[in-house]
């Protein structure tokens, strides 16, 4: 152990003294961070050159060379800076830290200590350590030459790390992995030191904590792989290149060149990274004579470290990494670009974004930072270019790997991605820190901290509504209680398989599958899935979303009413009423309708948005309105479509109000912002809406029409609107319904009292109350059988409600708004005494609904724990969980897939083996169930003749079959997929050609409407961002103009 420490110290000292030449430019922390990497790199490189010249790699040679290097460095140092006054210089400025900074330092130090402890605990044990890096070191030390290093895997890998390991072996071999955590420490020191100079200490420390805690960064520092060393050299090289381009100090360029050279002396990919750095240097330096000189310096430094080993290993005849890259490049240039392979790579990257166990939130942070840093992108363009080129390089490396013999692309992606991405991802965090610095948190005012006290009061009042959710268990017996959880279960299946926008639910209808999420708005499921990915189980995640929907819907109503009345008191009362209106409570605890509960958040927001569109439109508000409308549609398309009609009337009503003051031709201009917001909103949600509309016809709906589902049996009776009775049962034909359809006694009374506001016209709000009173009245009428002819007439729109009583959802909005009317007054709301009536009204509303705040909690559901078995048991008792597609003639009541699961096994394939002749067709599946995915499967087969394989999966547009390359998803050609008209189950059948070891892939792909929808959504997002950017720029120039005017006036 002592020998190891001596080695580490000696290398650091060598590097420290070498860097002392640049002392004028480097901070102490930078010098410390760079010292080990530079010292060890120079030492190992010298040893390699000495060995090539015939010297043995022994302790004596090492000591001799080390001393020679020391003397040489001191001589150079003397020439540049004179003799050192101290040896070494260890003076340190006394830093002053905030307590918060000290906490951050303690956090980083804990991580470093933990990394050292983990490394110390394990001997070299991982494959790459035993087969490459440590093995090379061991063989070099044993033979005291490079003779045997080629026995290790990948003989062409450079020897920086192995030669350091070999000296640790020569010194006794106590702790040969010690250099890896030291590289980790160096990486975070150099990262922090550079950032501190640019963004200040606190932000630098937060970013360093983020970097050092990224699981892959520290875990790769404990396993004896050279990636951490390469990462250190390359990241430091990129940072100094960035700093050179910002500050134009030649020292940074020299340092960057040396570090890049040492990176190429550590791993074989050096040339590719050189290309990236050179491209950035050229792009951001401008075409001057100085550029060529700089390029010369940079290249010379790189080549000095890269060339000797390259010549050596070429002479030795080792295979070369660059051959792979070259093969890929030739393939691309010659026009044989494999889109499928690229798609597979990009698909893999997509899956990595949610690989939190390796990357934490790094990849999620990147788009957020890009968005936040949009305004100042030019300032960091060189760094953004470095990151972008590194990403492109990664894609290229994998693309090239796929075109050469050896392990399949799948293997390379899973085995190589993380390590290669590790080399440059610290730059992402570095960029994040720069963006946050631009953001300038310290100068941020605190307007949003001035939260309206009535809003806080409203949130406190919502506690009673949430309280039943905190009881143990879940309302499994509620109408859609099980649905909400099992929808999430199925949704999660796809997300876990890397499908970001799931459309197919693979386990529906006993495993035959169903395009559930193609026709069902998934907004609420994304919310609960996000919570599930954080770590909450399915039930808890669902309960949290229910709770959030209550609080946020009240807050949304508060915001809208405050805007239209300028009264916080009215907003408070309306917010409380919105939360506690009996049907809202029934939606939660009787119906457990998650999607509908979430949609209730966006109803007031959509009204608010379109109000702004007419009254005070702006570019930013257009985007906000579009988002509110899109969110509503994404949460519950049925409610959204019905509410669109109301929004249309709302907009026309507001426009009519404006026309009285302006002239009629303005009507057209007034209508443009709401129309644009609506169009943008539809565009944003097109990824869901277009396929849902166009492909709804391909699912069977007959089982949900007629008989019980006949809407004429489900009109509410007039007395039921006021009946205070409560129940947890279902709606039944006639008046014997087992659930409540009441409007709520307190909201109705308050709506009646709003007549006072209509008469008084406080704050000029009369028109608003008239509109919502009319809206409440008309919707209430539509609940009754008296409106049956209108239902018949408006069937296409009203059918989205399924049952007339479900229009109660829409009555909650006007009733809640009207509830606030009584407390609106012309006087300012200043004194606390004025708050009392509003608070008492709020309490009255809560008390009016208090008896209904009950949930029938069940701790253990009869289906058992949430699982695939539970899902199948649930399907046995719930007809709506056995949806089928238009090709299915007979809805199954069980399946062979369910048999497999109930036998306690996992499903290997959905292939129907019943009609397969095993002598003519052999089918194999991938080990560890790797072939089975939520959106299809891959199998290998040997067929003596052309044949047909049937899958126990319902057909639906988008199912396609392909022949693929072995072990990959690279498509060779598409195969015919069809449905047998005589098959009552409408299953997919694939015609496969004869052949040995053929790989078949069946996959649920995107149909044309889905592709078009996705593109429209992507375009709409860009458009929305563009509008926001335009808005921000316009405001900035407006501000500067007004500033100039002010100055001129002064």
């Amino acid at each position: 152990m002592i020998e190891t420490l001596i080695f580490l110290f000696a290398m650091s000292l060598l590097g420290w003294l070498a860097l002392d030449i640049l002392r004028a430019c480097l901070s102490r922390l930078e010098q410390l961070g760079l010292s080990f990497g530079i010292g060890a790199g120079i030492f190992s490189f010298s040893i390699f050159l000495a060995s090539w010249l015939g010297l043995s790699i022994s302790l004596a040679t090492g000591i001799g060379l080390y001393l020679s290097l020391l003397i040489l460095i001191l001589l150079i140092r003397r020439k540049f800076r004179g003799l050192p006054k101290q040896f070494p210089t260890l003076t340190w400025e006394q830093p002053s830290f905030f307590k918060f900074d000290l906490g951050l330092i303690a956090g980083i130090a804990s991580i470093v200590i933990a990394v050292f402890l983990i490394t110390l605990y394990w001997p070299p044990h991982a494959w790459d350590a035993l087969a490459i890096w440590v093995l090379k070191g061991k063989l070099i030390a044993a033979k005291e030459s490079l003779e045997l290093q080629s026995l290790a895997a990948w003989a062409f890998y450079p020897l920086n790390v192995p030669l350091q390991v070999s000296y640790l072996y020569l010194l006794g071999g106590g702790f040969v992995l010690a250099i890896f955590p030291v590289y980790f420490l160096s990486l975070i020191l150099i990262f922090c030191a550079n950032l501190e100079q640019i963004v200040g200490r606190t932000l630098a420390l937060v970013s360093t904590l983020f970097l050092s805690s990224t699981p892959l960064v520290w875990s790769q520092s404990t396993n004896g792989y050279a990636n951490v060393a390469f990462g250190f050299y390359y990241v430091a090289s990129a940072i100094y290149l960035y700093r050179y381009l910002k500050e134009r100090k030649k020292s940074w360029l020299v340092l960057s060149g040396v570090l890049l050279g040492l990176a190429s002396w550590t791993r074989a990919e050096g040339l590719l990274y050189l290309a990236i750095n050179l491209a950035v240097l050229v792009l951001f330096s401008g075409l001057t004579r100085k550029l060529f000189l700089n390029l010369g310096i940079y290249l010379a430094l790189f080549i000095a470290f890269w060339m000797p080993w390259t010549i050596y290993h070429k002479l030795a005849g080792y295979t070369d990494f660059s051959n792979h890259a070259l093969a890929g490049m030739i393939e691309i240039i010659s026009g044989h670009f494999a889109w499928e392979r690229t798609a597979q790579i990009l698909e893999f990257f997509r899956a990595q974004i949610i690989n939190f166990n390796d990357w934490g939130m790094l990849w999620i942070a990147l788009p957020v930072l890009l968005l936040i840093g949009l305004r100042a992108w030019r300032q960091h363009a060189s760094l953004i270019a470095l990151i972008a080129l590194n990403f492109a390089n990664l894609v290229f490396i994998f693309y090239s790997a796929g075109s050469t013999p050896g392990p399949a692309l799948d293997w390379r992606l899973t085995g190589g991605f993380n390590r290669l991405a590790l080399h440059w991802t610290p730059l992402v965090i570095f960029y994040g820190a720069l963006v946050c610095a631009e953001f300038d948190f310290s100068k941020m005012k605190r307007p949003t901290l001035q939260i309206d006290p009535y809003l806080i009061l409203l949130i406190l009042f919502s506690i009673f509504a949430i309280a039943p959710l905190t009881a143990p268990g879940y309302f499994w017996g509620a109408h859609d209680g099980r649905h909400s959880v099992y929808f999430l279960f199925e949704f999660d299946r796809s997300i876990q398989d890397g499908i970001f926008y799931p459309r197919w639910a693979p386990d529906y209808t006993f495993g035959y599958g169903y395009p559930m999420f193609n026709i069902y708005a998934p907004g609420s499921l994304y919310a609960s899935e996000a919570l599930h990915l954080i770590g909450f189980d399915f039930v808890l995640a669902t309960k949290i979303v229910f709770a959030l929907s209550i609080v946020l819907s009240g807050a949304a109503m508060f915001g809208f009413v405050k805007r239209i009345t300028a009264s916080s008191r009215a907003a408070f009362v309306s917010g409380v009423a919105y939360i506690y209106i009996p049907y809202h409570i029934a939606d939660l605890y009787v119906r457990a309708a998650l999607a509908e509960s979430v949609a209730l958040i966006f109803l007031p927001l959509a009204l608010w948005g379109f109000y702004e569109m007419v009254i005070a439109p702006s570019r930013a508000k257009i985007v906000a309105t579009a988002i509110a409308y899109a969110a509503l549609m994404f949460s519950h398309n049925g409610i959204a479509l019905m509410f669109t009609l109301i929004l249309g009337i709302w907009v026309l009503f507001l426009m009519l109000g404006k026309i009285t003051t302006y002239q009629l031709p303005i009507l057209f201009r007034l209508g443009l912002p709401p129309l644009f917001a609506l169009a943008l909103g539809i565009g944003l949600v097109a990824i869901f809406l277009i396929p849902a509309v166009l492909e709804y016809q391909y699912v069977r709906t007959d089982q949900w029409l007629g008989n019980y589902y006949d809407y004429t049996n489900h009109f509410a009776y007039f007395f039921q609107l006021f009946d205070p009775g409560w129940g947890f049962g279902i709606s039944k034909p006639g008046a014997r319904d087992e659930m409540s359809f009441q409007l709520g006694v307190v909201p109705v009374l308050l709506a009646i009292f709003s007549g006072i506001a209509i008469a008084k016209n406080p704050n000029g709000t009369r028109r608003i109350w008239i509109f919502f009173a009319a809206m409440a009245g008309i919707i209430a009428l539509l609940l009754l059988s008296i409106s049956a002819p209108l239902w018949q007439l408006l069937r296409p729109i009203l059918s989205f409600a399924q049952f007339p009583w479900r229009l109660l959802t829409l009555t909650t909005v006007p009733l809640a708004i009207l509830a606030g009317a009584i407390v609106v007054s012309d006087e300012a709301e200043n004194s606390a005494r004025d708050a009392l009536p509003a608070i008492l009204l709020g309490a009255l509303i809560v008390l009016g609904s208090f008896p209904y705040l009950r949930a029938q909690m069940i701790v253990e559901p009869k289906e058992g724990p949430v699982s695939i078995l539970g899902l199948f048991r649930f399907q046995q008792s719930a007809g709506e969980m056995t949806g089928s597609t238009a090709w299915v003639k007979e809805i199954p009541e069980w399946s062979p897939i369910a048999d497999v699961y109930f036998a306690g096994r996992k499903l290997r394939s959905k292939i129907d083996y019943t009609h397969i002749d095993p002598e003519k067709l052999w089918i194999g599946v991938l080990p560890n169930f790797a072939g089975m995915k939520a959106n299809g499967e891959r199998v290998v087969y040997h067929a003596q003749e052309d044949t047909t394989i049937t899958f126990n999966t319902f057909y639906y547009p988008g199912w396609r079959a392909y022949l693929v390359k072995p072990q990959t998803t690279e498509i060779i050609r598409e195969l015919p997929l069809h449905v047998d008209p005589n098959d009552p189950l409408g299953r997919i059948r694939v015609d496969v050609p004869q052949g040995q070891e053929q790989w078949l892939m069946v996959r649920f792909d995107d149909s044309m409407p889905r592709v078009i929808g996705a593109w429209i959504s992507a375009f709409s997002i860009l458009l929305a961002l563009g509008v926001l950017l335009w808005d921000a720029r316009a405001k900035r120039s407006q501000n500067s103009e007004s500033r100039i005017k002010n100055q001129e006036t002064e």
């Binding site: 402890l117 990224t214 939130m361 942070a365």
Partner: protein, 148 residues
């Protein structure tokens, strides 16, 4: 004026939203990292006294005791034929012995091979004439009859 105030509020709201996003991202990142650290550090306090052999067996399973067995049973200058499956890792454990990777063809081409290592991956799956030295039912060595 009211419009401008509203827009200003919207911008401020967006700034706070961005701040909140960053704070949540950092906290979530630390939560995931903490859980990863917990897993990585668990062996240190759960099994602090594990020996080198325990740790290696935990990682490599039956392969590690086989390598130890081969080390014990063969001299340093032995020539061995091994299954190519573990590749260069064999060198790490068995150096300075000379190692050849391959099958029956390799055995035929190299008469100097003295031992063939038997593993639990059905290797050797070709006839070998020699004395069996077994570590257990599946793992061991063929000491070849010489001269061949």
């Amino acid at each position: 004026m009211q419009m401008a105030q509203l827009d200003l509020k919207l911008i401020r709201f967006l700034r706070w939203l961005a701040t909140l996003s960053i704070v949540i991202l950092v906290l979530a990142h630390l939560v995931f990292s903490a859980s990863a650290f917990q897993r990585a550090l668990a062996p240190l306090w759960e099994r602090p006294t594990w020996s080198y052999a325990d740790k290696m067996q935990k990682t490599w399973g039956a392969y590690f005791p086989l390598m130890q067995f081969v080390q014990q049973q063969t001299p340093d200058d032995a020539v061995l034929l091994l299954d190519p499956y573990y590749g260069a890792v064999d060198f790490y454990f068995l150096y300075p012995r000379r190692i050849l990777h391959g099958g029956a063809e390799m055995l035929r081409q190299h008469p100097e091979i003295q031992y063939v290592v038997i593993n639990d991956r059905d290797f050797p799956n070709f006839p070998v004439a020699g004395t069996k030295l077994m570590l257990n039912e599946h793992l061991g060595l063929y000491k070849l009859d010489l001269p061949r």
